[in-house]
Symmetry: C2
Subunit: 207 residues, 2 copies
Amino acid sequence: MELTHRQEQIIEIVKESGPITGENIAERLNLTRATLRPDLAILTMAGFLDARPRVGYFYTGKTGSELISEQVKKLKVRDQHSVPVVVNDQVSVYDAITTMFLEDVGTLFVVNQKALLVGVLSRKDLLRASMGNQELSDVPVHIIMTRIPKIKICYKDDLLVDAATKLIENQIDALPVVVDREDGQEVVGRLTKTNITKAFVDLVREE
Amino acid sequence: MELTHRQEQIIEIVKESGPITGENIAERLNLTRATLRPDLAILTMAGFLDARPRVGYFYTGKTGSELISEQVKKLKVRDQHSVPVVVNDQVSVYDAITTMFLEDVGTLFVVNQKALLVGVLSRKDLLRASMGNQELSDVPVHIIMTRIPKIKICYKDDLLVDAATKLIENQIDALPVVVDREDGQEVVGRLTKTNITKAFVDLVREE
């Protein structure tokens, strides 16, 4: 939404002097209150200003990008996540690499015999292991994986933007989407930077 | 921007019957024109409706998400890209893997003696090579890299959302940001899914 010059002026006045009555805003701009009424109505309904009876207008602190951010904040992890690819903690690094290529994913989640999350394997972890001198089919993945409690996780009901922030701040490619169980966490999804990139594209494509 | 029920009704009427005068819209809703005036002003200024003198209101075809998409379409590759990490096409796969770990990136760009782009190396390419039986310090990267013209590229002035679409559609992690030279392309940046994820987070954080 593009604001007119006058609407920008009104926001500035209310930012500086709010709460302020419509009459006082009009005075400052050398206009009548009637002239300002549509502008005040627009700014209020669009969420930039708020009005309280007998108090006047005050600035909500919302800018155009905040109104966008409200829209983005409606997106949940459940709207975007992918199917998880899991391996058992006893499989070899060699088999994990094979699984990664077969499934064409960048991150594997490692589970124990109870199917509960115990670790994460990134391409970087596997590449590092493959550079070592060990025989890859002799090394079980639990030796090289990143393990609980160092793993970052998310839930289906988390905001997508919060999960995206976790990916950025922890410099990781994927989060397991989990469900809490009595004795641990079950993996039900995989949230990656690819999912976030798709969500970004969808903001434009949903036209 | 959240629309009221009445504003949604107005949009529906204009969609169906536009161009239509304010008076006719008021009639349909059993309201006076004066009552509708603020709503029509808001819908017009927010870009949902447009008004032409003596013709009436018509629907611009813009929905809430289109207005967001206009905002997203202002973002360019130049606003988000990272510094590129390049290796010469004669270096060994072993050295490339070392560079990838030292620089902590997921993609390396390969250049020739003229510093022009000739290839791309992903973690997946390097992991695949490391699984082979070759001595990694004996294999030059140009043997295993993805090479021109198979490489997808972008420019600083490209829309961020177009670059994001290329990443998704080609299932790749990064695009080289290039400048055209007489005999090829110079690499001036690196655009990754991490950059797009940051842009997504910034949509909310720019408050």
